[in-house]
């Protein structure tokens, strides 16, 4: 298994970022009532759970279950069992996005060069929030942690996102 951004170590370091590769990621689609039963977040753009297993709200009937690398198979089985008899879909998307984790106080400003969302606490953006949006021209999923922001990005766009963040910080 190979991370997406080993060639960008210098740039990542310069902007206080690291790649968090190989996270287990499952795209779960189901009835909101069933999701509620599982403790999935019902409020748009919020995250339930913890670092061990976070559930990100992606849409009215879509969630991203994120866990430690290697947990996708057991989590899939567990969710299939929990949702047995209901119309649902669980798709392994672990390799479909990598994660760039940004730290540092300037991270929201860097993102704000290319993201039209309100990323200030006064606008409601705080730990426990997530949002699908664009950074520049790349589709990304943002998740706010206690002292970091995770940028979920498709591998093919990852280098672009790092380069654009680097340029943003430089200016």
């Amino acid at each position: 298994m190979r991370p997406v951004l080993p060639a960008h170590a210098v740039e990542l370091g310069r902007i206080g970022a690291t790649e968090v590769p190989f996270l287990a990621q499952l795209d779960v689609r189901c009835d909101p009532a069933d999701a509620h039963r599982l403790g999935f977040p019902g409020e748009p753009n919020t995250v339930a759970g913890d670092m061990a297993r976070g559930v990100l709200w992606l849409g009215p009937d879509e969630w991203l279950v994120v866990g430690a690398p290697g947990t996708e198979a057991t989590t899939t089985t567990e969710l299939h069992t929990a949702l047995a008899g209901t119309h649902h879909s669980i798709v392994d998307v672990g390799a479909n996005r990598t994660v760039i984790e940004l730290t540092g106080a300037e991270r929201h400003m860097a993102l704000a060069t290319g993201c039209s969302l309100d990323l200030e606490p006064a606008g409601g953006w705080s730990p426990g929030r997530c949002a699908q949006t664009l950074f520049g021209r790349a589709p990304v999923l943002l998740q706010e942690l206690e002292a970091a922001t995770r940028v979920f990005v498709r591998p093919s766009f990852a280098a672009y996102v790092v380069e654009r963040l680097t340029a943003a910080v430089a200016r």
Partner: protein, 877 residues
């Protein structure tokens, strides 16, 4: 005109900090806090500019963004193409050169301006940091709002309240729907575009003073009275020693008092009306008042600047005596005040004529989130309505200084039948200037109204559009420039290997795909031939990761896919694969790919590289809007899977050498198996886009680079060659396989492609089915896909070549029969192959036609599209 720095005063300048600068080659010194315009006046530079059309001498008219005369190019310490001197903050080593209204694009000697962008969200955005703007900000901040105040000057007159963010040197370019406002911030050599989203926008943009059109009103030394006032107050600069004030409102009279207090001699205060309290106050103070009078002419000195004025009674008025000529070096003019509401007008704010103030004020309409305050809201001095002076030569009464347009030009336009001010603008170019007619708009409208016998305010100034000030394209581009950031370059997990192996890349949408892999100094032709022969004779490997991939899950997945594709997918066995064609509602081919049935309720469908997002959108659109009853979920997995496609008679040996637990011997065509390849979990598909025995190895993307390398290494001894998209195109063209988007163009049906077999009209409805019954889609003379064989086997027809009847005279109009869609040199066949869409093509099989190549007819024969292995004998190795 004699201008000079006063011994004291100037709220903006810091007299302890001299600033050296260069203007038009002359080395001068000003103070920190000066604008370039105030520093020039302080140095006695009262002219220095020219008009763009007539080349007439011009000087600084204003102290703000309405400046129509004093434009400069800044070449140091950064570059600005053309800006008004009134808006240039004086910095050390500034080098400015006058520009007559037209800028110059820099060459390579100039470092490009840097640019970036920011998004910002606030509850209240205040545009303008004057007293009204500060009050609005104060009130909003007290409510706990996030408040942003923007000020286009480089400094604030007074500090804003705590908790209020400010941006100086920042101009609002435009206000758009729902409180979206675009700002342009100039920060030295860095331009920053702000995209602000505000719940409430407060327009506190003030008002612009209006000049009056009188003969000779364009000479250096004719200045807006408010500007003269500003130069004294903010910059400690006296713009003239002997001043004639010509004013319709009390602001001009106040300027007279300020100028007099600063040491100027007021030679006349010319008031076209009877005069109000301000006139009485000045009369009592001993100012020489000329009530009921107007300035009818200026007189120039040897340098072209103002040396005197002639004052005469206003027409029909009982003015103060006879015409009188006075010496003066400054004419301070105030013709009333226009609220600065261009930004509001562009988003629907209406204007109404205010007779007492002789100007257009906001009429209360416009979006509810937009508020206008202070002078912009119409809190401006009452004024007599005087746009132009009757006496004197109309050809010297300038309405639009930057276009050298006069009362005579407006009269000419109206005389030629133009009545709307919008038309007058377009025939005179008044208002099409850098300042967008800030000083000329209302006078032009009112002079037009008067000429037509209409009353004041019958029509107002032309509409205003963003951007409010010129903005460099480089600022709008922001970070999104250059090969890396202009548009994302998408790469596959195997990209580093492709680069290391010297691949030449092709852009496919945003993807970089290896086009071909030259070895040594091989050219493209030789490379592609080698790659194609390797696939035909041994094996080749292609990075096919960019294929779009969608998982379609749910009990109704089969039913759904039956409706999306022309053929039946619901009866596909688990473990099997079927090719599918997708039509638009117009029955034209839209995309193609394969469907794999992963489980009873689960399919994975592939799309073209370019069609991935469109197909998913189409799936979601139909599911959400037309068939919400279908229990189906779609999930994009394009980048979940890297795809290593091995093709050729020895493909099986390659996979075996790479190591797999899948039994390749009992593995039928159009099925797939899950297992391991080169130590990675894999799904291997027996599909073929080359006609050869092929295995598409799908692995989670993070194994892509490893499996690609392992397959290459294992296949080396077997003769495995990596091949790119060009060889892929040749190989599939040899087999007559179409590429949607190359052999189709949105006007081609499945039947046109000779693929009527894939349209199952017994299975129920599907997208495009109804349109297939239109007369037009069943015409016999539609363009149909055929192969073309050139009589000269070495000739490769250019793609796009027109196909015509053999021997047709090339005299226009030449009846066209169709065109070549794909054309290549086939190494395997030792001749060229071409696919073409030809009118009633299949009925012309074996017919001799001609292709027009560089104006010459070239003989071609219509043949079957499948040129290579028509029996399909090679598919299973």
């Amino acid at each position: 005109m004699v201008a000079r720095r006063l011994a004291s005063g100037g709220t903006w300048i810091d007299r302890r900090r001299p600033v050296a600068f260069t203007f038009d080659g002359a080395e001068l010194v000003g103070f920190a806090g000066d604008t370039l315009a105030s520093a020039l006046l302080a140095n006695g530079v009262t002219g220095g500019f020219r008009s763009p059309l007539e080349g007439r001498p011009r000087g600084v008219l204003s102290a703000g963004d309405e400046e129509p005369n004093a434009f400069v190019e800044v070449s140091s310490p950064w570059f600005e193409t053309i800006v008004p001197a009134t808006m240039v903050n004086l910095v050390d080593h500034l080098v400015a050169t006058p520009r007559a209204g037209v800028g110059r694009l820099p060459g390579d000697e100039v470092a490009p301006r840097r640019a970036t962008s920011r998004h910002r969200h606030v509850e209240t955005l205040v545009i303008g940091a004057g007293a009204s703007g500060r009050a609005a900000a104060d009130e909003a901040a007290a409510r706990g709002h996030r408040v942003l105040v923007v000020e286009q000057r480089h400094r604030l007159d007074e500090a804003v309240p705590d908790g209020v963010a400010t941006l100086t040197s920042t101009t609002a370019l435009g206000i758009y729907d729902d409180g979206a406002v675009v700002l342009y911030q100039r920060d030295g050599n860095l331009d920053r575009i702000w995209h602000v989203r505000a719940r409430r926008v407060v327009l506190a943009t003030g008002a612009h003073e209006r000049p009056i059109a009188f003969a000779g009103n364009d000479l250096p030394g004719v200045m807006l009275a408010g500007a003269a006032h500003t130069y004294v107050e903010r910059f400690g600069v006296l713009p003239g020693e002997r001043v004639a004030v010509f004013s319709t409102n009390h602001a001009g009279h106040e300027a007279a008092e300020v100028l007099a207090a600063a040491g100027a001699t007021i030679v006349a205060v010319v008031d076209p009306g009877e005069g109000g309290p301000a006139t009485q106050r000045l009369r009592a103070a001993g100012f020489p008042i000329h009530a009921g009078s107007v300035v009818v002419a200026t007189h120039a000195d040897e340098r072209g600047g103002v040396a005197g004025v002639t004052i005469a009674p206003a027409d029909g008025g009982a003015g103060d005596g006879e015409a009188v000529r006075l010496e003066a070096d400054l004419v301070a003019v105030s013709g009333g005040w226009n609220p600065t509401v261009q930004l509001g007008r562009a988003i629907g704010m209406g204007l109404a004529y205010d007779e007492a103030k002789a100007c257009f004020v906001p009429d209360g309409s416009g979006p509810p989130w937009l508020q206008v305050v202070g002078a912009a809201a119409g809190e401006v001095p009452t004024s007599m309505a005087l746009w132009s002076v009757e006496a004197g030569d109309d050809r010297r009464k300038y309405v639009e200084l930057q276009r050298d347009q006069t009362v005579a030009d407006v009269t000419g336009a109206v005389g030629r039948g133009f009545r709307s001010v919008e038309h007058v603008k377009r025939v005179t170019y008044i208002g099409t200037t850098i300042d967008q007619g800030r000083t000329s708009g209302v006078p032009t409208a009112e002079i037009t109204n008067a000429l037509l016998g209409w009353g004041p305010g019958a029509q107002g100034p032309t509409n205003a559009r963003p951007p409010y000030v010129p903005v460099p394209f480089s600022a709008l581009a922001g970070l999104d420039t250059g090969p890396v950031l202009m548009d994302p370059v998408r790469t596959t997990p195997m990209h580093a290997s492709h680069v290391a192996r010297g691949a030449v890349f092709e852009d496919v949408g945003q993807w970089k795909r290896p086009w071909f892999f030259p070895v040594g100094d091989e050219d493209r032709h030789a490379t592609v031939n080698r790659e194609c022969l390797a696939v035909r004779q041994a094996a080749g490997v292609l990075d096919a990761s960019t294929l779009g991939k969608i998982e379609v899950v749910g009990p109704d997945a089969g039913t759904f896919l039956d409706r999306m594709y022309t053929n039946r997918m619901s009866n596909l066995a688990v473990g099997s694969i079927r090719y599918g064609l997708m039509l638009g509602l117009d029955a034209m081919v839209a995309d193609d790919g394969v469907a794999m049935r992963l489980a009873d309720d689960r399919y994975l469908v592939t799309t073209t590289t370019g069609g991935a997002a469109l197909v998913l959108d189409r799936f979601e659109e139909w599911l959400q809007t037309e068939w919400p009853d279908l229990r189906v979920f779609c999930t994009s997995v394009t980048e979940q899977w890297a795809v290593v496609a091995v093709a050729g008679p020895r493909a099986r040996d390659v996979l075996t050498a790479a190591g797999t637990d899948i039994d390749l011997q009992t593995f039928p065509f159009m099925t797939f198996r899950d297992g391991w390849v080169a130590g990675a979990p894999a799904r291997v598909c027996r599909v073929s886009f080359t006609g050869e025995l092929s295995y598409e190895v799908h692995v989670p993307a993070w194994y892509g680079a490893h499996v690609w390398a392992a397959v290459l290494e294992a296949g080396g001894p077997i003769g495995l060659t990596s091949y790119g998209t060009e060889a892929m195109h040749v190989l599939r063209a040899e087999k007559g396989f179409v590429i949607v988007g190359q052999d189709t163009d949105g006007t081609v049906t499945a039947e046109d492609l000779g693929m009527g077999w894939i349209v199952n009209d017994t299975k129920g409805d599907f997208i495009g089915k109804r349109s297939l019954t239109r007369d037009d889609t069943s015409r016999a003379d539609r363009l149909q896909l055929v192969g073309l064989a050139t009589d000269d086997p070495g000739l490769v027809l250019p793609e796009g070549t027109q196909v015509v009847e053999a021997g047709v005279p090339l005299e226009p109009p030449v009846p066209m029969l169709g065109h070549v869609t794909s054309s290549y040199a086939s190494a395997a066949l030792g001749r060229s192959v071409a696919l073409a869409l030809v009118r009633a093509g299949r009925a012309r099989m074996r017919a001799q036609l001609a292709a027009v190549v560089r104006g010459q007819l070239v003989a071609v024969t219509v043949v079957d599209p499948v040129a290579y292995d028509p029996e399909g004998a090679r598919r299973d190795g």
